[in-house]
């Protein structure tokens, strides 16, 4: 018995020593070998991420501090230290195209999308090939287009820009540089994304100027000056798939495909144009990262656009390029299935809810989008546009923006899109809070219509008595 006890004691000692050594190794050798200088940054990020903002806000590493603690940044219409207080009477903000509908996706993919940037990461102006562009990122971009099937990258050069907005002007610059005594005219079809006009005019170039709606030039066969046509497909604001209107030796076309992703539209076929522009903002939702790219067939145009990005800012921030690479790696997981499923379902759900409310309205309408076969999802799919192109149908509501404002909904005035005050763009890609509040206000607005109101009043009277 004593022997057995003694034997048990020795066994215990030996196993304890082995276990201790193993754990010591794991704790102080293993763990430290795995993480040393990066640990503080990782812990900081997790601490910040763990702050609760009640699902109506979030804290960032660079949020403002109060008594040394970062303050919650609340969604519109929410306030308080933890964003839990709804601001009564607050207007629904569906103005800008802030793509925060994808924020929950990235929170759900925290581990795969996290990125640790070392202090000495890419301090140089140039990559090792002397360029300002990451070859790895270029490869991932081509791969993303390949798996989605939304653009043919074969035989195309790629130029990166600080958001697609920069590339729009770079493209206008590049296409306007042909021997011509007069400046090139830039056109877009109404309704068009306001930046085309605003930006083209803003830079006051000798070589180009905005000359209005495409249709004004459609039958002008005697145009001798260069014309640059912006084609946005799907269109911002109305989500229609578009083709170039103008043709001929003096016409050049810039295809803005910001929204040509399965979140927002069926993909009938790969886009195959000479100059196509895309943006991370509407693919992954990272508008704040300011990253876009252009696919360019013509080498001279490519070289000019590249030079534009060089003269403008020596290319895109290498920090941004690294982040875009990490995000696209997550996009590529499962051939995009996760992000596009999430994106499509979210947008489809929002569109259906808004459509349902408006289906009973006689005063208001939104655009019609037919179901269409999508080569990416390999099925016919319904609409899921980024924006509702909202129309006030009645003459007395000709200032549609004011009508919505009075109902507590802040959209974007149709005048900015060249379409007149009868229209308002409603952004459907913002936070769920923004969308939900807009939906609620819209329901109230629509239910206040003549017939609907009368019906509701009768029901209400019936219930009261």
């Amino acid at each position: 018995m004593a022997n057995i006890q003694s034997s048990n004691g020795d066994w215990f000692k030996v196993t304890s020593v082995i276990l201790n050594l193993f754990l010591l190794f794991f704790s102080f050798v293993g763990a430290n070998w795995k993480l040393s200088w990066s640990e503080k940054a990782a812990a900081e990020a997790e601490a910040v991420a763990s702050v609760s903002c009640s699902g109506h806000g979030r804290v960032y590493l660079d949020s403002l501090l109060l008594d040394g603690n970062p303050i919650c940044e609340c969604n519109t219409c929410f306030s308080g230290p933890d964003c839990s207080q709804f601001i009564a009477g607050c207007d629904a903000n569906v103005n800008s195209g802030d793509p925060l509908f994808l924020e929950p996706f990235w929170m759900q993919h925290a581990a795969s999308s996290a990125l640790l940037v070392a202090g000495w990461h890419r301090m140089s102006y140039s990559f090792s090939d002397g360029s300002y562009m990451s070859q790895q990122l270029e490869k991932r971009i081509r791969k993303v287009h390949e798996i989605v099937g939304n653009a043919n990258t074969t035989g195309r050069f790629i130029v990166f820009g600080s958001g697609s907005i920069l590339l729009l002007n770079a493209a206008v610059y590049a296409l306007s540089l042909d021997n011509s005594s007069s400046p090139a005219g830039v056109v877009a079809s109404i309704p068009y994304y306001p930046a085309y006009k605003e930006q083209t005019n803003f830079f006051r170039s000798l070589d180009y100027r905005f000359i209005g709606d495409t249709s004004m030039w459609e039958n002008t066969s005697d145009v001798k000056t260069n014309v640059i046509e912006f084609v946005t497909s799907p269109n911002n604001p109305d989500a229609q798939l578009k083709k170039a209107v103008l043709q001929g030796p003096f016409v050049k076309t810039i295809y803005d495909h910001a929204y040509y992703w399965p979140h927002f539209t069926a993909i009938p076929a790969p886009a195959d144009e000479d100059l196509m522009i895309f943006t991370l903002s509407k693919l992954t939702g990272h508008a704040g990262s300011r990253f876009g790219w252009a696919l360019i067939k013509n080498e001279t145009v490519y070289q000019r656009m590249l030079q534009y990005t060089r003269e403008n800012s020596f290319g895109v921030s290498r920090d941004t390029q690294l982040r875009a690479l990490k995000l696209l790696e997550v996009v590529l997981e499962g051939e995009g299935k996760e992000i596009f499923d999430f994106g499509y379902k979210t947008m489809k759900d929002r569109w259906e809810k808004l459509s349902k409310i408006l289906s009973v309205s006689k005063r208001f309408s939104i655009q019609q989008i037919a179901p269409r076969y999508c080569t990416y999802f390999q099925q016919v799919r319904g609409p899921s546009p980024a924006y509702a192109w909202f129309k006030c149908e009645r003459e007395e509501n000709k200032d549609c923006y004011a009508v919505l404002s009075a109902a507590g909904i802040t959209g974007r005035d149709g005048n900015l899109f060249g379409a007149g005050s009868g229209y308002v763009r409603l952004s459907l890609i913002r936070t769920q809070d923004d969308f939900d509040l807009m939906l609620q206000k819209m329901e109230t607005l629509v239910s206040g219509e003549d017939g609907i109101e009368t019906m509701r009043r009768r029901q209400s009277t019936f219930r009261q008595f």
Copy 2:
């Protein structure tokens, strides 16, 4: 004895159990609680950082891969899988102003400068105040100027840009927008940073054009058109502290203070001009991050520059702004002592070594910089410029760039700075490898001069016999 043994055994058991529990907690509870979703990213960054490139290169997270492993990116003139092979006959590259002299500083400060970016970090276009600029970063920038004493930020607005290069053009744009029938003329004093001319001409604006050397306009009292003068202080390429040359109601001035940091110059007093431009590239060495800022007194000019950055690219990447914040936090440690000591010592050492070699030359010279009292270091300090402004003194060496090229040194041709072919700019802020190789080639070049060569030959003959 048995009791003592038994007592010892129990003690051993109890301590073992406690130790095991502690270690288990630390390993599997403690460590996991501290880090979860961020751990993979941190481990990836450390794995990449641990790859050895023999001190002549480094691996980045977005380096190209070979068989799944990232490839070393070698310094100029080094090659091989671990950058250990010197490329015989390779020219010293001292052309661009790549500020890699600070790379070792950041490697030494790995823990404090590491940054973990969450996948959902700042996806929105705007910060919570609706702007495109981080308030935290703005505060840090003002603090850095305060501790360094190199600029008065009081009563100044701040605009961020994707590198100071973008802000140069934004400033020209903003200052040229006055009611005038003719475009504003942009001038700079020879020798000047080539981008002023190149960029101003490149964008082909209706409102401004480059009209040459400032001195051509100095005595033209009848100038009725607006003139915008670039003043670079310390000057690129020759490191002189400069003041505006032109005065008068039609003159506006842009101060480019990219190099006005203790690394490169004594700080006699805080700069106090109406429009001053700075860049992260030459403060922390992160040229690749593309971040600069302007301090602006006049509100209208500020608003115009802000609008320029908005029309250009909706502001600076939020990823870059976060990184700049982290880096400036490290700069601020110990009131800047660590980074400025490191920077000044490195640059001073390089300058002294080059000066010593050239001190015996009759063919070549570099600029003279007098010692000066520095309010930051609170002492008189010697020169430590970013560039050597190298002059070929003899008529037969009038193509100085070719003379240096033949000696295996690639500088930047003085013609680009408006100074003629008798000058070449040598960058002293690149990697230690680049500098060391240039020094070696310079020594050979100088020792080959008539008198020096004869002297060396005699010594050589004496030694041989």
